[in-house]
Subunit: 338 residues, 2 copies
């Protein structure tokens, strides 16, 4: 019966692919960990040679490389593997656009473990793990800061072009600074900018290191602790909120934004960077999908639409917000006046 | 720098999608667990109504349904969700072709946990968990038998059409019978067939239940235990090996096949059902991808090409094998004469 029904109908291959999709996530992560893309870029293009350089079994490398070929990240001609265009650009360490380290964060076991009982999270409307990833000094945020830095750099560069005020003094608070990219990008464009990076103490070590590398360490100050509890200081011209509001629900964000407003100079502004889906919540795909990331890993977070973000700011006493794209980053800049 | 490089080049969206692909696997599983596809088929097509029937939070259902819309398994018009064609066919319990239960096996936490350190498995060439899923009476095989039964039925129906001998007595050994589908399909076509199902004792409870449902329980006998140790009996006309050889390496399979040959009548034959990739090992995609499933979950298993399977049989003393497709199943039937 089933055979007859299936033969004249859509193929279940797409369903199988979806149910095996977790293997793709972890295959990419393993290939990054084993430097497979870089080895191939260096000319190792057979199972034997890749396995030797990766100190891995030939069987394991053969299965990994065939799988990545099927998935379109590698090519295979006879027994010779090559890199697909985007793998060569983003996943080989020989490329200046290398962002492979994001795999080490995005496919982190602790993320995936958050989804092993996704059904319970859907019933509840948030993670069922005690604090998700939001507990104090959770080491995953050190990983975030280190591994996601290349992605932050993309948005940070676009952001700084909009909000830095070269030639004028600028006191900037970077909330949940993480890799420090956003504040540092401003410091590089504006020699009169003083940046105050706030984050967990262990994470700020990464921000400070990045400030040192960028040559702006003398203008990079730190505020360790929680954004909800720490003394954030006052008289800021600009407060940065990169990728932070999505972790919390509306009332929690309003509480935070009231603190932010108190720290601003009258006339100052807030630059929020977020994945912002359209009002239909299903486009653009990457931004809209981000709500699933928040459902699994936070108690109250979400991917907020522009109108929802605007409402949070107004509930905290701010003026209306405006939005603009941070192309080529998939993120949106929301600017809010005091 | 990064921004300039990225802007004129391929978009990293495909990489992001791959690194988030595990969420798709678990979203489908949750939607099956919460009967979301069935609720929509029954006319519940808003967040509120689906959440009510699924006894889940509106936020969780909204994020799940939007995510499945982005992924193409649902549709969304305004605030109204609908089923994509393949979701309606395969994932609604109102469909006679429902196979949604496969999600409960394929996205089983124990499978996914096997991949959390895939890099170690690639180094080693097999699972780093003690026995993968292959330990005695591992309850996952009871889940397999229950949840994968609709898929087994597809291949079983095609298989029985080839190997059953209606009008002649037929003593059939079904190794690793699981849901019992293959042997039972033969028993239904051939009233003179006597089926001997071998599997772990806990799994055989599922096979026997299926034989009872099919009305062939009086001709369904059981051989509990390991295929490598149990007394398999003798004088079989036909031995079935559905989805078993892929769990083991070549020498282990040769050992097993020698036992199989000893259990056969001279002139009898073996019907092996497997995911069989082409010799290039990267096509067809579903069959070729199966090697990754085996790398993560078994110590020595693989998706074997026809030539590799043929070699195992010949090393065990058999004649040359032949192969044929089991359309619409993605699996291949390998027939081997004594």
């Amino acid at each position: 019966m089933a055979a007859e029904t299936l033969s004249s109908q859509p193929n279940p291959f797409r369903l199988f692919s979806a149910l095996s999709a977790y293997q793709l996530t972890l295959a990419i992560k393993s290939a990054v960990e084993l430097d497979v893309f870089t080895h191939i870029a260096d000319g190792a293009n057979t199972v034997q040679e890749i396995a030797r350089r990766a100190t891995a079994s030939e069987k394991g490398i053969r299965i990994l490389c065939d799988f990545l070929t099927i998935q379109g990240f590698l090519t295979k001609q006879g027994a010779t593997y090559g890199l697909a265009a985007d793998a060569e650009l983003f996943l080989s360490k020989r490329s200046p656009a290398y962002i492979g380290s994001i795999a080490l964060f995005l496919a982190h076991s602790s993320h995936i473990e958050n989804y092993l009982d996704l059904t319970a999270s859907i019933r509840k409307g948030g993670t069922t793990h005690h604090e998700g990833n939001m507990g104090p000094e959770n080491p995953i945020w050190v990983d975030f800061a280190r591994y996601m830095a290349p992605m932050s750099a993309v948005g940070a560069s676009a952001l700084a072009g909009v909000v830095a005020t070269p030639g004028a003094s600028q006191k900037v608070l970077d909330i949940a600074a993480g890799p420090g990219a956003y504040g540092i990008a401003i410091a590089r464009i504006n020699p009169q900018a003083e940046i105050y990076g706030q984050d967990w103490k262990n994470v700020l070590e990464v921000s400070v290191e990045a400030a040192r590398t960028a040559g702006v360490a003398d203008r990079y100050h730190t505020i360790p602790g929680s954004a909800f509890d720490a003394d954030l200081g006052t008289d800021y011209d600009l407060v940065l909120l990169p990728n932070f509001l999505h972790h919390f629900d509306h009332p929690t964000n309003v509480t935070l934004l009231k603190r932010v407003r108190a720290a601003l100079k009258p006339g100052g502004r807030v630059a929020t960077v977020e994945f912002v889906p359209n009002e239909d919540r299903v486009t653009p795909p990457m931004q809209a999908s981000f709500s699933m990331m928040m459902l699994g890993s936070t108690a109250g977070g979400d991917a907020y639409t522009f109108n929802e973000l605007d409402a949070m700011f107004r509930d905290a006493g701010f003026s209306r917000s405006t939005q603009q794209e941070l192309t080529p980053s998939p993120q949106t800049l929301v600017l809010t006046e005091y």
